[in-house]
């Protein structure tokens, strides 16, 4: 898909490497050297063949192997995603649980409405606002995501907080809403009534009987959203000039550097599929009804 999509874009690779002033003959020559004048299917199968052997090929633009570039970028992206998740999961769940326990009270309204408005705000808008407020006016956080060379993990995290905040804002709404809905359903369930009527304290009831059942669907959402994070990174990484996989793909796309583009998208796609799989897996581990099968 990506392969075809990128092929129909106008312009040739060599032209974008050599610049618009280039001599048509050298453009043709370069195209031939890069192999992009071969039939599409041949190119595609060639790429797939090499990819399956762990060889992502050479970047057209950098004339360097793609694999280390993609892997390095992926490492950066995963760090950013991890920080975002680390922030948003506890926040979202606590927010949702608190909202559900105070349902229809002011606190619930603030969390629900706030979460909803944060979710609909695109990352580049919230990103810019956050840079302005937290980075430029208040000087609380560094505005660039790139930490100094050799920085220790804590410093790295410190640099990553600001870039991850827009992602946190988007995901907080989703996660807290799921947690809230799950909680409300669980609190109103018959088994919660059973637990209360046993004479357990409200804390025991919530902790043992409500939370686990309430958060099951939320877990799935969180893991699935981890996949979404990878997509959201394109905007964020470009905005914060962070050398992750998002900005790698973005640059590759503008330069028509297919090996990078395809490998990058492929890697992101794989991660997305894997997180979805993990989501189902974690759900079944947590839910005895699925774990044991339905038979008796």
């Amino acid at each position: 898909m990506v392969f075809l999509g990128s092929q129909v874009l106008p312009g040739s690779v060599a032209l974008s490497i050599l610049g618009p002033e280039a001599d048509p003959r050298s453009v043709e020559l370069l195209n031939h050297q890069l192999g992009v004048d071969r039939p599409l299917l041949v190119q595609w199968f060639g790429w797939i063949w090499h990819f399956l052997h762990g060889d992502m090929g050479l970047s057209y633009v950098h004339q360097a192997p793609v694999s280390p570039m993609v892997m390095q970028a992926l490492g950066y992206s995963l760090k950013l995603a991890a920080v975002a998740l680390l922030l948003v999961v506890p926040l979202g769940i606590v927010g949702g649980v608190v909202a559900a326990l105070k349902v229809n009270r002011p606190l619930d309204r603030i969390i629900s409405l706030g979460g909803l408005s944060a979710t609909v705000l695109p990352e580049f808008v919230s990103g810019i606002i956050l840079i302005l407020v937290l980075g430029i006016w208040l000087h609380w956080l560094p505005i660039s995501a790139a930490w100094p060379n050799g920085a220790d993990p804590l410093t790295q995290i410190y640099y990553l907080v600001l870039p991850s905040l827009p992602l946190v804002l988007v995901l907080f709404g989703y996660i807290s809403r799921m947690a809230r809905a799950g909680m409300i359903e669980a609190v109103e369930s018959d088994y919660t009534r059973t637990a209360v009527l046993k004479g357990l304290t409200w804390g025991q009831v919530v902790w043992r009987h409500v939370l686990r059942n309430a958060l099951l669907p939320t877990v799935t959402v969180v893991v699935t959203q981890a996949g979404y994070l990878m997509g959201g990174l394109v905007v964020i990484e470009t905005l914060f000039r962070y050398p992750g996989i998002g900005s790698l793909i973005f640059t590759a796309a503008t330069q028509k550097d297919f090996p990078i583009l395809e490998s990058g998208v492929f890697v992101v796609g794989t991660i997305f599929t894997m997180t979805t799989f993990l989501a189902d897996l974690s759900y079944s581990v947590l839910n005895p009804r699925i774990r044991m099968g339905t038979g008796q």
């Binding site: 018959d190 088994y191 009534r193 209360v196 046993k198 004479g199 357990l200 005895p288 008796q296």
Partner: protein
């Protein structure tokens, strides 16, 4: 143990002039109105009434667990002498832990799906402050007390791995573990099979003796309440309209509502050709309705001006109470539906409509095969009702689905409609055949498209099934609506604007649109209240006599099956165990399984036989017992022959077939023998 001495309150539960309202749409709507009742220590009190009259609110108020929008307007609740409404958090928790327990409908939901049974039961003992080691052993003992055969393995399981009956036992074990003064049972057996229901009721009876708890038993099922309770209260529109000793209330009611309610039930083996069931006209006043007079006046045929304007007090009639101005006239309440019914004897001229030969259905593949229906052969006559009975898992629904073409039978079986073979799946049936076999579902809510009006739902069926257009369609639509006793005014309404009974009428109209030959009625009234149920049963009987349609009736309620059916087939693990004319099946000789099913049904008329207990659960159809499939639970098992050889269907009479090794004459002897000593235990005890 040092007990503080305090005066023993005489009542375990006491409501004093209690009024409860739910806040809906910014308005308080009264659900309970000035309700007073007392349950003595050790007493079993039954609360009956139709849905929406406030039964469950009574239960929830007693344990102070009203929904968020519920509020006590006035009055008080005392449990074991303690004013429930004035307790602080801790005292309320202690009360719930020690004094009162509750068991409700749908045990599958009442247990936490993600916690093992053992831990859930042990929690009760944790609340009581027992050390962890002791909790498990006490839980084990408690599960044993509710007659769970293998408590150790059950404790390791999750609720979904248990059957409904087992789940309810676990719930009862948890409720009784704290040895409460007051046990509230809110529809505890609704939704369970009749054999399982009987077991659960037996269990409650036995444990009541052991634990000595008072019981508040809430049920819409009058017969169950009659079996379980010493005293009964009849609730209507949140008011107690009649109260007194169970037997006197049910045999000689003094309130027109009780009279009418009892008349709605098919009783004492009543059948459709012996006359219509009585119905109650009108509907229950909605919560919050202003009721200056008697709440039942609007629906009461003997009500006069005084009844409409003046609320009758709960009058003392000597040990019993009735909220009626004219209690002595209650029994003279005229029938709302005339009993006489002209039922043309269609069976005399009957031809077979459906011929089913050697039909089986196997689900699954490879090693994991489940034989849901096994080698069923039968014939359905025109204008005849065939009742299908059996516990859940007996193959009733699969059989019905095969008739409809939803599930294709295994190769080898044959279904013929009017002598012509019926294609196994719906896609291969002709439009003519499709409209000939129709269904009425249990739940009209999910069977009707909520977004469409009644006119559109029934009109669509007329277009699709009868191929009608334009004026002809309108004419037939009006005819059909009238036939199911709806009025043209209903045509523009949507399902949610209709009550359950009216919705079921729409569903019936829909199924009759194409002049069907056979209508499968799958639990057609089990989602409805008794008064509405009677009306729907009457309607089905009328439509049958005017349209000469055949019914395949699936119901767990044997009273209904007996009322509507001409013939009955008893299914067990997908096999026909007994088939024959309705009266012969009910009169006996019966198959031992039929005998057990019949004896499991609580009887309102006091002609109770000793109950036959079926041991164990219905075996899995994936792994049925060898020989006769019923041998693993059969109380009349002969011996080795039952384990090795599956008996054929033997003739008790030429029309009445029984699949048993015991000859019919012998079965009759065994079943006629008076069973001394095992007379009803509760009654003996309570007197």
């Amino acid at each position: 143990m040092g007990c503080t001495v305090r005066s023993m309150p005489e009542s375990a539960l006491r409501f004093d002039r209690l009024s409860v309202a739910y806040r809906v749409g910014g308005q308080d709507r009264a659900v309970l109105r000035d309700l007073s009742l007392k349950i003595a220590r050790g007493e079993a009190y039954g609360l009956v009434g139709e849905s929406g009259c406030g039964k469950s609110t009574v239960a929830l108020t007693a344990v102070r667990y009203l929904p968020r929008n519920g509020r006590i307007i006035s009055g008080s609740v005392a449990l074991d002498g303690a004013d429930v409404m004035r307790l602080d958090k801790d005292a309320l928790r202690t009360l719930r832990a020690k004094t009162v327990s509750m068991v409700y409908q749908d045990p599958g939901k009442a247990l936490n799906p993600s916690i093992r049974i053992g831990s859930q039961v042990a929690e009760v003992f944790e609340v009581m402050g027992l050390p962890p080691a002791e909790r498990k052993t006490r839980a084990f003992e408690m599960l044993k007390k509710v007659r769970i055969a293998d408590p150790a393995s059950v404790m390791q399981r999750y609720p979904h791995q248990l059957s409904g009956g087992m789940q309810q036992r676990v719930a009862i074990a948890m409720a009784l573990a704290s040895d409460p003064t007051m046990l509230i049972l809110d529809e505890p057996t609704t939704g369970l099979d009749s054999t399982v229901e009987a077991e659960v009721l037996d269990l409650v009876t036995d444990l009541r003796r052991e634990f000595g708890a008072s019981i508040l038993f809430i049920s819409h099922n009058l017969a169950v309440v009659a079996k379980m309770c010493d005293r009964v209260g009849v609730l209507y529109a949140g008011m107690l309209v009649e109260e007194g000793p169970t037997e006197r209330i049910f045999t000689a009611p003094r309130h027109p509502y009780t009279v009418a309610l009892l008349r709605c039930l098919p009783r004492g083996g009543q059948r459709k050709d012996q006359g219509r069931l009585d119905t109650i006209p009108g509907i229950l006043p909605s919560p919050g309705a202003r009721l200056p007079g008697c709440p039942f006046a609007e629906r009461c045929a003997i009500a006069d001006a005084r009844c409409v304007s003046e609320l009758p007090p709960l009058r003392d009639l000597g040990g019993r109470f009735a909220r009626c101005h004219y209690p002595e006239r209650a029994v003279q309440l005229p029938r709302a539906t005339p009993a006489e019914a002209a039922v043309p004897n269609v069976r005399a001229i009957a031809d077979p409509v459906l011929k089913i030969a050697n039909v089986s259905k196997t689900y699954g593949q490879g090693d994991h095969r489940i034989r849901a229906v096994s080698d069923v052969s039968l014939t359905l006559m025109a204008g005849e009702t065939l009742g299908l009975v059996g516990e859940s898992g007996s193959g009733k629904t699969t059989f019905a689905r095969m008739l409809l073409g939803i599930v294709p039978p295994d190769p080898g079986g044959r279904i013929e409609l009017d002598g012509k073979p019926l294609a196994p799946s719906l896609g291969h049936r002709t439009p003519e055949q499709i409209k000939a076999v129709q269904i009425v579902f249990q739940n009209p809510d999910s069977a009707l498209n909520r977004a469409h009006t009644v006119a559109r739902i029934v009109g669509r069926a007329l277009r699709r099934l009868a191929g009608l257009r334009g004026a002809e369609l309108t004419r037939r639509l009006d005819g059909l609506i009238e036939a199911v006793r709806l009025t043209p005014r209903h045509l523009t309404l949507r399902p949610r604007q209709l009550s359950g009974g009216l919705k079921q009428r729409v569903a019936i109209a829909r199924s009759f649109a194409g002049d069907p030959r056979v209508v499968v009625c799958d639990e057609p009234t089990s989602a409805l209240d008794v008064s509405v149920q009677a009306a729907v049963l009457n309607l089905l009987a009328e439509l049958q006599s005017t349209h000469a349609v055949s019914y395949v009736l699936i119901s767990h309620d044997l009273g209904i099956v007996r009322y509507l059916s001409d013939r009955i087939a008893v299914l067990y693990l997908g096999r026909i165990m007994e088939i024959g004319p309705s009266e012969q099946v009910f009169q006996g000789p019966h198959h031992p399984y039929t005998e057990a099913l019949l004896s499991a049904v609580p009887d309102l008329d006091g002609t109770r036989k000793s109950r036959i207990r079926l041991t164990g659960e219905i075996p899995s159809a994936a792994n049925p017992p060898s020989g006769c499939v019923f041998q693993s639970r059969c109380p009349r098992k002969l011996g080795a022959i039952c384990e090795t050889t599956e008996p054929p269907l033997n003739e008790a009479t030429p029309l009445h077939l029984i699949r048993c090794h015991i000859p019919a004459a012998e079965l009759e002897n065994l079943q006629r023998r008076p069973n001394s000593g095992a007379r009803d235990l509760i009654r003996a005890e309570s007197s």
